[in-house]
Point group: D2
Chain length 337, copies 4
Amino acid sequence: MSQNLRVAVIGAGRMGIDHIQRIHRRIHGAEVAAVVDIDLDRANAAIADIPGAVALTDAQAALDNPDINAVLIATPGFLHEEILHAALVKDIPILCEKPLTPDAESAWKVVQAEEKLGRKRIQVGFMRRYDAEYAQLGNIIRSGELGELLVLHHQHRNPATPPGFTNEMLINDSVVHEFDAVRFFTGEEITSVQVRMGKRTRNAPEGQHDPQHVLLETESGVLADVEIYVNAQYGYEVATQASFEEGVVSIGSDSGPYVRTQGRWGGTVTPGFEERFGAAYDVEIQAWVDAALKDEIGGPSAWDGYATAACCEAGVEAQKTGGKVTVALNPKPALYN
Amino acid sequence: MSQNLRVAVIGAGRMGIDHIQRIHRRIHGAEVAAVVDIDLDRANAAIADIPGAVALTDAQAALDNPDINAVLIATPGFLHEEILHAALVKDIPILCEKPLTPDAESAWKVVQAEEKLGRKRIQVGFMRRYDAEYAQLGNIIRSGELGELLVLHHQHRNPATPPGFTNEMLINDSVVHEFDAVRFFTGEEITSVQVRMGKRTRNAPEGQHDPQHVLLETESGVLADVEIYVNAQYGYEVATQASFEEGVVSIGSDSGPYVRTQGRWGGTVTPGFEERFGAAYDVEIQAWVDAALKDEIGGPSAWDGYATAACCEAGVEAQKTGGKVTVALNPKPALYN
Amino acid sequence: MSQNLRVAVIGAGRMGIDHIQRIHRRIHGAEVAAVVDIDLDRANAAIADIPGAVALTDAQAALDNPDINAVLIATPGFLHEEILHAALVKDIPILCEKPLTPDAESAWKVVQAEEKLGRKRIQVGFMRRYDAEYAQLGNIIRSGELGELLVLHHQHRNPATPPGFTNEMLINDSVVHEFDAVRFFTGEEITSVQVRMGKRTRNAPEGQHDPQHVLLETESGVLADVEIYVNAQYGYEVATQASFEEGVVSIGSDSGPYVRTQGRWGGTVTPGFEERFGAAYDVEIQAWVDAALKDEIGGPSAWDGYATAACCEAGVEAQKTGGKVTVALNPKPALYN
Amino acid sequence: MSQNLRVAVIGAGRMGIDHIQRIHRRIHGAEVAAVVDIDLDRANAAIADIPGAVALTDAQAALDNPDINAVLIATPGFLHEEILHAALVKDIPILCEKPLTPDAESAWKVVQAEEKLGRKRIQVGFMRRYDAEYAQLGNIIRSGELGELLVLHHQHRNPATPPGFTNEMLINDSVVHEFDAVRFFTGEEITSVQVRMGKRTRNAPEGQHDPQHVLLETESGVLADVEIYVNAQYGYEVATQASFEEGVVSIGSDSGPYVRTQGRWGGTVTPGFEERFGAAYDVEIQAWVDAALKDEIGGPSAWDGYATAACCEAGVEAQKTGGKVTVALNPKPALYN
């Protein structure tokens, strides 16, 4: 059907492939029209089972193709800025995997470009907002049914890290999700970040201090803390416990079949983020497509990308100093209210 | 895209509307091309937001439309037989909501017609097989990792029944899912059915005995029992506990955010089958579409529809006699092996 | 202190030793004054750390000892009858491990002897009534807060059976607890028993059919069923799920530390009845001692012992016939109302 | 029996009464010989159902009574020091409710007095060490089966505070248990304390900041944090989650019957510490009695009382400064190794 969104996916790595297959197999109203990767073989492999899609090595060529009316950016973060500006020029719906850009200054330039355009065109890939339990906790908070939210305890645990995963990446690639989650839950900006480092697991690669304990505060004084533990071995776990004036809510519990055997009760731990958040990715992309087909954009905005980039910068500094680092943001443009 | 499945949905009641919206909003590779309902207003309402779809009152007219290449049957069960035969004549992929037909004799005729056609074209809407936990329990059983399966305990609880829900419907509309589940889990046919009736809830409508305790046996001697309780008030719950030689597995536990407030811990009970099995319906329909686009059919077959119809007949008789009723099936055609 | 209960424990086997240590180390207001066992060495070993206690081989000698004012019977069941009659003659408080006696006829004679004595002196060791969760479920039932109780599902699973454990013992030693539990929960007598035998675990010893599915009915029509599975390998589990008019209550869930490691979440299964019901035994014995010091007797009565013996007889018959066996009781003496 | 421990309980307030009844009704090998309270009526009421016990207003008189050979101190903390020194002079077994004394300096004097006596006579009432789940987590840590312990997350929530409960008491009366728990779990001393104060619940009384987030470090660098929230309304909850090199362990989950009704699943929250830790108190007192009858003392020592007093002082200072406060301890006397 002619009204389908025809998407260029930029980047055919792990995340890009995942989105290509998602759009090709499960998302209604969108098609993969082009896949761009600096490695043409990789791009060609990615479209092997998608009739009508083209493989390219140049993002600009994809954007210039009149057959394409939407773009999903899944390259490494340092390549986002240039593509974002080029896509904003085309005035088409953009879904940009997190981070928006790797630092607050470049993210702010994207915000300014979008503001100049005068309409929101960018959605950032903070997919957790589309997870059913995150949405339910968000609803409980906004409803006020348990009184004011007071404290948030987050755990973010990965089985292991890929080679070369540094302390900075631990903030920029992992804790960044928690920064957005705290902002999503509270509807407030984060005002300070502190990082505690204690005993280090022997399973961490050299040069990486793991786990770390990240302390956040929000505008109204909500206290949040994050145990970030990326070599936790046993599996993937993302959980939050929220303390309210009249109760406590926990999300992220283990689920699935409940087995008793060999003297044990329990089940299997989710092995990775694909299993934990796969359904959330589906919902996220479908929501982006549905909005784009109506010429709208929703979800996490470029401002959210900018604000979390500022938190990441503060977090990396806090890793070094051990003290509390203030997060200072530029005034929020009216476009994002 | 031209290769999309163009589906006629027959029946625009609760289930039909649900599938129409599912195909229209979430399923990739299929479109709602026509909606058929004896009430034209209802058919028109069902396609109001679907450009390109037509509303009809005659199923044959939809099947005769060359623009249509698949059919989803969601009418009341007593209307299935005629449409199934007409659709088989067209040799197109059919998804038929359960029951295949309301009795074993008519179901057997459908099986024979499909056998005569020489290829499988019918998938029956036993969507539980597409539920993640059902699939996982099925995998555990087939893997043999816990030894042989010995006993299955099922609970099937609904908050309440619609007006006119009889004892027979309790078997034919509710327990029928458990018949299929026991067959799915064991990979065996059910050989006998017994029904125990004890104390009756005051919340059951007049003429309906609720709850009932249904006892099943399979070919290899697996004992199964089902508490069917359709006026359980507190919500919808479908659970199974399986005892193996080396362990026990339970599925269907409550999940979702875990709340502590007002002296209580816990969460909310799933209110209905849409919430409990909504994702399973999505997976089921997507699987049917994906297979149909490759000119294949999978999932529960017409034989499964026939075999469960025979169980239902035995179940209704067992309600009356209180004794154990044997389930006798015709020989299984080679098409279904 | 002179007012302490001075208890003769008859039988120094596994259960007797357990009670001797319990009384000696944890129970207030009682002392082990004598241990009787046909094997004097065993009796002597049992009192090795208990100053002031005597070891005997003759129960009558213990009962005749003026220093003794209470008796706890922990011999094999077939020896109970004679000791019970002898102890009733002494008119002292008696705690008799289950079963009261091995058959309904001899149990009825004990009931008659106690009735003739004119006061209750016997408490039977159905310790589950003293388990916190059993008590809580009992309270919920009696309160009527969830409406009428309709259905009870029981699971009774043991890791393995000792050598020589027969089908009859499976009823008399294991299901007997469930008979009492159903009577305790409902406050009614059991009116029929049926036993289903299906697929047999390869872990059962020769001559024993395991698991079995026992079906019970009570006077008001409550349906109960018991999965009795005594070679379940993975551990000890006793659980009940109760369906009411306005809700469902489950007891017997796994508990203890919740561990995530090696791709699994969960904990350890209770290995045996000592761990599962150890606290209940303490509460039971303390309750018996407290009552006895006030010259009273409470808890499960000789009537309960008789009624469950009648259920066991019906259960053993039902194992053989496969059909439903009626349980017929003598009229209940006024003493037990 | 002559060898029973004859205990003087000093203080007949809430905790004292609880212990008096515990010793009188459930503890084997001990009797309440005297109850001392400044309010004689209260002391008399406390012994009303205990034949042979005497009521006094003067602790020294109780200690001088040759019939008394043990003392349990349950007065307010500021009265402990004098009684402890007097009891040490008598060289009898002492169970002192926490805190040992209200400040590190006076606690150190008690430690020195006991050291001078040359044998341990004092057990401090940190009863959590006797809770089954605390003990199990402690065992997992010491076993090394999950690798090194890295992080401890504690939640300590009360429904509400009594009148006059200040910020200092929040540390000295509530967090003190967590100080001991961290020391118990790690087997290390706490080296620093920091307190974060954020959004305040409207349910906190004037002058009290609630909740607070307390951050601890131990000698080897284990990071611990405590959410202390004493007006949490919904009930009493004490939980810990421990992150290891190869897994995560959680204790303190809700338990009890699992109910589904009115659209909810779950159970009831423990209302107070008596219900949560009642069994731990029983085990603690029985352990103290059993040891005392063998002329020994075990459990938390005067050193533990002193070390936690030093943590409390640091915690109160940290509340004021917001910064990290170092905990400095005197060298540990050999008596406590």
